[in-house]
């Protein structure tokens, strides 16, 4: 791999806010296509951040700041890209379930999905199953991400899954859950399609589901 792409990876992984723009310009000057800079430089750097988060070397703040480093770089690359290339992995409707107003976890998942090539339609917090289903129909999204923090909120997850089934969309639209009260077992009980224990895992689950 080219040295300049490795430098971009390193800048993302080591949270080098001040250096990232210069390194991205250097890649472009070398004639590296923007999409390759994103995939081999930025996404790979984020993957390394994710690995360190999984092993406990990095914490939530590192993850958030890595997203900020990426935000510094992305406008430069998007400007050079074919407009259709952004969000090329697909659309995801993201929401915190009805009755719950916690948003930090959802925001971090949204940020990671965005920099990983998804178009995120963030409906916010305290969102009803009806609104989520309407957004899915309107945007044609085939993935839904649901966040719920408290065990008393799991009814909101069930309502979304049921509404997807009732709308006859179960085979086309996949639901991924995450948040403190969720688990692999809850995913099974609710009839959801995926469970992300962490924001990093959530991206992997969405990648897996979007590929099917």
């Amino acid at each position: 791999m080219k040295e300049s792409l490795i430098s971009v990876q390193k800048a993302v992984n080591e949270l080098m806010f001040d250096e990232i723009k210069g390194l991205v310009f250097a890649c472009l000057d070398e004639g590296i296509p923007p999409l390759e800079i994103i995939e081999a430089g930025i996404s790979k750097g984020l993957e390394l951040v994710g690995e360190q988060f999984e092993t406990g070397t990095y914490f939530l703040a590192d993850l958030v700041m890595a997203g900020e480093v990426v935000k510094e770089a992305m406008p430069i690359l998007e400007e050079k890209m074919d407009p259709g290339a952004a969000g090329q992995k697909g659309k995801i409707v993201l929401a915190t379930v009805e009755g719950d107003i916690h948003e930090i976890g959802k925001n971090i998942v949204g940020m990671l999905l965005n920099v990983n090539g998804y178009e995120v339609i963030d409906l916010g917090v305290d969102v009803s199953a009806g609104k989520i289903l309407a957004a899915v129909k309107e945007t044609g999204a085939r993935l839904i991400g649901l966040s719920a923090l408290l065990s008393t909120m799991i009814g909101g997850i069930k309502e979304v899954v049921d509404s997807v089934v009732e709308a006859g969309l179960k085979d086309h639209v996949k639901v991924v859950i995450g948040g403190a009260c969720t688990s692999e077992q809850l995913k099974e009980e609710m009839g959801a399609d995926g469970y992300g224990e962490t924001a990093v895992q959530a991206v992997k689950i969405f990648d897996k589901l979007s590929a099917t």
């Binding site: 900020e68 009755g99 107003i101 930090i104 971090i108 008393t152 909120m153």
Partner: protein, 227 residues
């Protein structure tokens, strides 16, 4: 006994304390942005606590009664065995910070504000524990919070609010039907005197938890709490 309100708790956290936590110590642009955010927070922050000195009694089957309210927790039955008094409480970062953080729209600002509000809640809890030591000469105390363990579910939070009568509202904390507290950075529980320190974390197997305060002890429930 009526509920007691602790307010006028100083919230004087310095930006330098936050830089390493938020991973921005080497970047002036972010540090300046955080300084501004923190200054706004400090201007309005009013962390508060409501608590009560409550009698601990036991039903015939060993169920714990706090001020006559029955609390359903096996862990509590064992932990409170030698207790005759306990301190049910609600602590909060305050509705001022909650409202302020709801005005923010940028993901990074929202994340930082969440951390600031969490620290304000921590300040309230520290003030509460100091107050108990000063007022009641408590020695070692431990905390149980509804929802921290399956053994004492979140739905029991309504009972803490009931024990404290309207004190939750007095300090600006609302409890929704689904037992969510607003401001979000609020916590309810019971502080009790304990011979040895108890942390719910000792009975919680969830790994990678950023709030973990004690290692999980796989045998503890079976050895100490299994009836």
């Amino acid at each position: 006994m009526d509920a007691i309100i602790i307010e006028n708790i100083p919230f004087d956290i310095q930006a330098k304390q936050l830089y390493p936590i938020l991973k921005i110590e080497s970047n002036r642009k972010y540090a300046e942005r955080l300084d501004i955010l923190l200054a706004s927070a400090r201007n309005i922050a009013c962390p508060r606590v409501a608590y009560k000195l409550a009698a601990v009694e036991y039903d015939n089957d060993g169920t714990v009664l706090i001020d006559g309210v029955c609390l359903m927790s096996r862990v509590m039955q064992v932990n409170f065995e030698d207790c005759r008094r306990a301190f049910p409480f609600i602590a909060t970062c305050g509705m001022e910070l909650e409202k302020w953080s709801r005005t923010l729209t940028d993901t990074l600002d929202i994340f930082w504000a969440d951390t600031i509000n969490m620290m304000a809640l921590g300040t309230a809890l520290e003030a509460f524990k100091r107050h108990l030591t000063d007022t009641f000469e408590t020695r070692m105390t431990s905390t149980m919070n509804p929802g921290s363990l399956e053994d004492w579910p979140l739905s029991e939070q309504h009972k803490i609010f009931s024990i404290l009568n309207a004190a939750g509202e007095t300090i600006g904390v609302q409890l929704t039907e689904s037992a969510m507290m607003v401001p979000l950075k609020s916590v309810s529980g019971i502080e009790f005197e304990s011979g040895e320190k108890f942390h719910s974390c000792q009975l919680c197997p969830r790994d990678k938890c950023p709030s973990r305060r004690a290692p999980y002890d796989e045998q503890l429930y079976a050895v100490k709490y299994n009836a």
